[in-house]
Amino acid sequence: MSNRTHTRRDFLKNAAASAAAGALFLNAPEELAPQAGAKSRVILIRNRNLLDAGGAPRKEVVRQMLDDAVASLLGEKEPLTAWRRLVKPSDVVGVKTNEWSYLRTPVEVEDAIKRRIMDAGVPAGNISISDRGVRGDDIFEKATALVNVRPMRTHHWAGVGSLIKNYIVFSRLPFTHHGDSCADLAEIWSFPEIRGKTRLNILVMFTPLFHGIGPHHFNRTYVWPYQGLLVGTDPVAVDSTGVRILLAKRRRYFREDRPLSPPPKHVFLADTRHHLGTADPNRIELVKLGWKDDVLI
């Protein structure tokens, strides 16, 4: 663990170098992890018809987006073939969702994930979808595979509500990970009940929150219909890509460079200190599918 100081000037001198330091992959099954020198693949898929007039996701569009993203991620033509590489019929699967009341993981996404896990042969009784109930949940306690899914949003203290942060409820004492603006959240990923089990990370970008005000850190002024999903096996690469989209949106909205408040250092330290994945754009293969307008990245 390094306590070297990272200053603005370091980043200006070489923005990529510090983030590229330790792109090792501890959390994906070996066959899904990038080989030495390979890039982390992240799929960004968008569909301009995802949200209906009332702002609700159309479930058939969600299913198609997820299928296309997972197939592309694993280089398969058939989505089911790809899902069968992610989970086996013998797996016990925990889907770690997020139920934050203002911007939860859409039920349509949870349903699409569960459907495909079942299509891959996992019995419904061996699948659980939970957020705060993961501790004490029978399925999560004996899970052999995890799927991590949540919406992207800014966060009061961690900078962003990220995929990395989504596992904080596996900790007995979540507040003990709040130090230094949640800098070391990635250490949670080394817990025995998590380590090496995460097969897929899905960052929901349907209506991301790019700025927060007030005690609940939510205001409809600061969400926008991006209508996308970010999907990958490397949670740091997916989060890092999500952060870049939020930063681009903030720059466009505020008409100045406006850092996230506070900076999402846990995403970058997940790479440089905890070696969970890569946050370095130069080591991320970003594949963009679907709707391109205002893609921001």
């Binding site: 100081t5 200053t7 603006s181 005000i213 007030g214 005690p215 609940h216 100045e256 900076p263």
Partner: protein
């Protein structure tokens, strides 16, 4: 709702047809239960207690009132300043309204009133409730004195951020992942932007409890961020902007992001003048 030491802020039982449905109170540890993930902001500003109540009206969105006792007007202003985007004063000593949500501060209270969705009726109710709660807080509180050192000129007043935790410096202008300026609960820090456009000049002032702390902070800043400043007043950094720093008494001053050396030094000198002016206005002590 708590106010004074034992008294209560009197929130109305009914406003524009919305009726209060009970009150919840939270102390420090309980705050995580209510605003998971958001508690640290308030804790970093000396949070004391929170009283929260919901208002309901059939056929209309619920409205939630959160009244934070931050222990001092400095803290209440500080937490309010964290997210301020525009200057408004529709309630209390400063307010901001956006899409169904009103936040304001008065004395040592930071108040949020949020309608789950915005309707014409709920907007009127939110404003009426804000004014009612603000009126129930009898006194205004003083602003942090360090704000008086900010030169006016091209100051963007909505950009002023007051804080006593180093995380909030990086929130608005990233310098380092380490607390190299030794900002803590005993320091008063203010950050403000000057000018308009994509790249505004950033002014940072930090007042330390004693001369030793300001000296150590300046040494750390020089060594770890701006070594070239030794023997000079300003340095052009890697992005082409100019950074300057100064210290006077217990106050450290830094200018970032200036487009020219002259612009950086003008701001440094303007702060010096504000300090002299401020010292002249202070009563003398034996």
């Amino acid at each position: 709702m708590t106010q004074g030491h034992q008294r209560s802020v009197v929130a109305p039982a009914e406003i524009n047809g919305w009726k209060a449905t009970g009150e919840r109170k939270y102390r420090k540890r309980q705050l995580y239960d209510y605003i998971d993930g958001g508690a640290e902001l308030y804790l970093s500003y000396g949070f004391n207690s929170l009283a929260s109540r919901d208002y309901t009206r059939p056929g209309q969105p619920d409205i939630t009132l959160d009244c934070f006792d931050m222990g001092s007007s400095h803290n209440a202003f500080g937490v309010f300043s964290q997210s301020r985007e525009k200057i408004e004063k529709d309630a209390g000593q400063g307010s901001e309204y956006a899409s169904g949500q009103m936040i304001f501060w008065k004395d040592r209270y930071y108040v949020s009133i949020m309608s789950q969705k915005e309707t014409a009726e709920s907007k009127r109710a939110v404003f009426a409730l804000a004014r009612s709660v603000a009126d129930a807080i009898p006194n205004e509180g003083p602003l942090p004195a360090i704000l008086n050192l900010l030169p006016k000129g091209e100051l963007a007043p909505e950009s002023v951020r007051y804080f006593r935790h180093h995380v909030w410096l990086n929130s608005h202008y990233y310098i380092s992942d380490q607390n190299i300026l030794r900002i803590n609960e005993k320091t008063d820090a203010v950050l403000a932007k000057y000018g308009r456009g994509l790249r505004r000049t950033v002014l940072l002032l930090i007042e330390y409890p004693d001369d030793t702390e300001v000296r150590l902070a300046r040494e750390d800043f020089t060594e770890r961020y701006l070594p070239e400043i030794v023997g000079r007043r300003a340095v052009r950094i890697e992005d082409g902007t100019w950074t300057a720093c100064d210290s006077n008494g217990r106050v450290f001053v830094a200018v970032f992001n200036a487009s020219t050396e002259q612009a950086a030094l003008r701001l440094i000198d303007a702060v010096r003048k504000m300090m002299i002016k401020s010292q002249k206005q202070e009563p003398e002590h034996e």
